[in-house]
């Protein structure tokens, strides 16, 4: 009985989606001017919230509410210049303002928006130009936004906004026009690979899980985002939470799952708030729960928080953590797709991976797979930070070279020093020296030079940065974050770190470098999980490309040979 009612309501919701599709997507407010104010963590910290308030007040004060729509949005990318505000007025060129303060907001309304709407001016007043950013600059122009498509356009706290921009159409298509296997096939065909770091083919993972049998089956979203200094996933969760939910729903349908779990870093309060809000809205709109959109697919989501452990990004540790245990990895096999959460088949994907799903369904696998390179399809979001002029969240097609990302999108080094290297893959990755920067960004190319794509952290370093220091920084991080379960990582990491510290302090011996390499090798080969296996990467890659930075610091003769090099002489 109850179900019939639910189905009825679901079908009504479905009808609303269909209705929405007919009229074409986009803003429906009819407002002549729109103010998009970044309301994501970084800009909020820089005062973004009060900027949005000021806009609202100013618009109210000028009685323009029906003509101007103020949209608090997700991250617009150039966080370093936040708070960012984009003003779109019919018939005018779009304007992007940087470092906006409440005062400036009032001026924008009073001196730009109002007079334009009143037909008094048709150009941006000169004095406001100091606050604008060039939307035609490579930072904006050479990005390709698929995952971040909605960021900067919709209010992440409004499901209506998401639906207006085409949201949940892909879900509807899957539920009513495709079988679960069709969906799996579509994802396989798209060539999508996991954005969490490993780059495992998503369709293949879904196939395993689709084929697995269990009393229950789970889809898990990995929002632990442990890379210290990267915030792609928080950007997506804060800026477009429904995209993640829709991705998980489609994943759940395709894998015949019974429920979904979102594991999010506790350090992301805003992301948590927004996703929880989005889940509530989705439930209300019959997009979560029993008989979704009136179909016989039932699925709901639960949010679980991390508690400050990088290793919980590793799949088996994440599962242990949700189960309420210490987040220590366990050996695989069995793989989570056979036996995961509560020993039931579970498949885990990254936030960004999920955010790609609805887009793939909407544009079709064929179209999607045209983006990117042969083996790496689609786009990748990076958190571009460090010594770079345009630091922020960027999305580029796979295959774009590092040089283009850093020098065009990123605008090159911030300051006078020369660019030295780029670090990708966070604590599991490595440095790529300047002479290799024409490398295209794709999983395999980066691996070939000793780094990894990783989840999207990209740190730019200049000549003043010490690579021994950066290696020490990352190793210090992994040592602190080692779960301590297995000996190679628990002890090896500390021994390497001690030796590195010694070298950095100028007390190192040549033997220390030899020892570091030997321990690194054992860690890579004998550590239980990815954390330990990859922890030596930052050290090994800096040693590979910048060994002299290490040996320069080794002043003392090791006395290990009878040669008569300078150092030996000096020692005598």
């Amino acid at each position: 009985m109850a179900n019939e009612k639910l189905i009825q309501k679901g079908l009504e919701a479905k009808a609303r989606l269909e209705e929405r599709a007919k009229s074409g997507f986009g803003d429906t407010s009819g407002a002549r001017a729109k103010v998009y104010g970044c309301n994501s963590t970084s800009c909020r910290s820089a005062g973004g919230e009060s900027v949005i308030d000021s806009f609202n007040q100013a618009v109210d004060a000028n009685e323009l509410s029906d003509q101007v729509r103020i949209v608090p949005t997700g991250c617009m990318g150039l966080c370093a210049k936040g708070p960012l505000v984009k003003v779109v007025i019919d018939g005018m060129e779009d304007q992007m303002f940087k470092e906006v303060e409440p005062m400036v907001a009032r001026l924008i309304v009073a001196e730009y928006i109002t007079p334009v709407l009143e037909g008094k001016i048709s150009e941006l007043p000169e004095f406001l130009k100091q606050y604008t950013l060039d939307l035609n600059s490579p930072f904006f122009a050479s990005q390709q936004k698929i995952v971040l498509q909605n960021l900067g356009h919709i209010n992440p706290e409004s499901i209506d906004d998401y639906v207006d921009f085409g949201g949940y159409q892909a879900l509807k298509k899957c539920l009513f026009e495709m079988s679960p296997q069709d969906v799996v096939n579509e994802i396989k065909e798209s060539g999508l690979r996991g954005r969490g770091g490993g780059g495992f083919p998503t369709g293949l993972k879904w196939q395993f899980s689709h084929d697995a049998e269990g009393d229950e089956k789970f889809v898990i979203c990995n929002g632990d985002e442990g890379d210290p200094g990267a915030y792609m996933d928080s950007g997506v969760l804060e800026g477009d939470p429904h995209a993640v939910i829709e991705g998980m729903l489609i994943a759940g349908y395709a894998q015949r799952a019974t429920s979904g779990w979102l594991y999010i870093r506790a350090e992301y309060p805003l992301a948590i708030k927004r996703i929880e809000n989005a889940i509530r809205q989705a439930r209300k709109n019959r997009l979560l729960g029993d008989n979704i959109l009136g179909s016989d697919f039932s699925f709901d989501l639960e949010v679980r928080l991390g508690a400050g452990a990088f290793v919980c990004g590793e799949e088996t540790a994440l599962i242990a953590s949700i189960e309420g245990k210490r987040g220590t990895p366990r050996p695989r096999p069995p793989y989570p797709t056979e036996s995961g959460l509560w020993k039931q088949p579970s498949s885990i994907n990254n936030v960004e991976t999920f955010a790609n799903i609805a887009k793939i369904i909407n544009m079709g696998a064929k179209e999607y797979s045209k983006i990117g390179t042969d083996k790496s399809k689609g786009t990748k979001v990076f958190a571009l930070t460090g010594r770079v002029r345009n630091g922020g969240l960027v999305e580029v097609p796979m295959g774009m070279t590092l040089d283009e990302i850093v020098n065009q999108v990123g605008g090159g080094v911030d300051g006078d020093a020369e660019l030295k290297a780029v670090q990708t893959g966070g604590p599991s990755g490595g440095v790529i020296p300047k002479h290799l920067l024409d490398l295209p960004v794709c999983y395999d190319e980066l691996k070939a030079v000793g780094s990894i794509m990783g989840s999207g952290g990209m740190i730019v370093m200049d000549e003043d940065d010490s690579l021994v220091d950066i290696a020490k920084f990352y190793l210090g991080f992994t040592v602190e974050e080692s779960c301590g379960k297995c000996a190679p990582c628990r002890i090896g990491g500390q021994q390497m770190l001690d030796k590195l510290t010694k070298i950095a302090a100028g007390d190192g011996k040549k033997q220390d470098v030899t020892d570091i390499k030997r321990i690194a090798h054992a860690m890579q080969k004998a550590s239980l999980c990815g954390l330990g296996q990859t922890a030596p990467n930052p050290v090994l890659s800096t040693l590979k490309f910048f060994e002299s930075e290490y040996t320069d610091k080794i002043k003392e003769c090791c006395g290990g040979c009878a040669c008569s090099c300078n150092k030996n002489e000096a020692a005598k």
């Binding site: 970084s42 966080c79 200094g229 740190i459």
Partner: protein, 164 residues
Amino acid sequence: MANSSPNSGTAMAVKKWKKKRGSLIMALHEIQDIKGYVPWEDAQEVAVGMGVPLARIYEVLTFYNYFKLEAPGKAVISVCLGTACHLKGNDEVLKEFEKELGVKEGTSTEDKLFHLQSVRCVGCCGLAPVVVINGKTYGKVTPSNVRSMIEEWQNNFANETDVA
């Protein structure tokens, strides 16, 4: 323990989460949100209420950085030591806090006004170096800002007691 029913928040957290799966960490989060840390008695209450052995609860509490076993200072100062902030020199800011407050990272001042800790990225790398104090984010911090940040919070607390 000034509160008349000191464990009521804990009892509620237990009640809310005990029937749900995968909820131990969530319940502990809730307790810490209320109390600032997870006291021994509350951990025992969770053990009994949720049917999880106390040993397992402490395994969890001591594994995850986020949980505190001791009451922290009133203002929790989180200095970001993520990559971006490290590169831009936040280590120096941390040192300055340690010097100014006279405490080591991970501990609280004797007057229990401040707790100093480091965190790894709060998602505002664009504003690096970043410090968060009780939820308020400070971007592009330099060691010379430290003094005034401390004073700001000292004043906040002074005003509070004035009112009370």
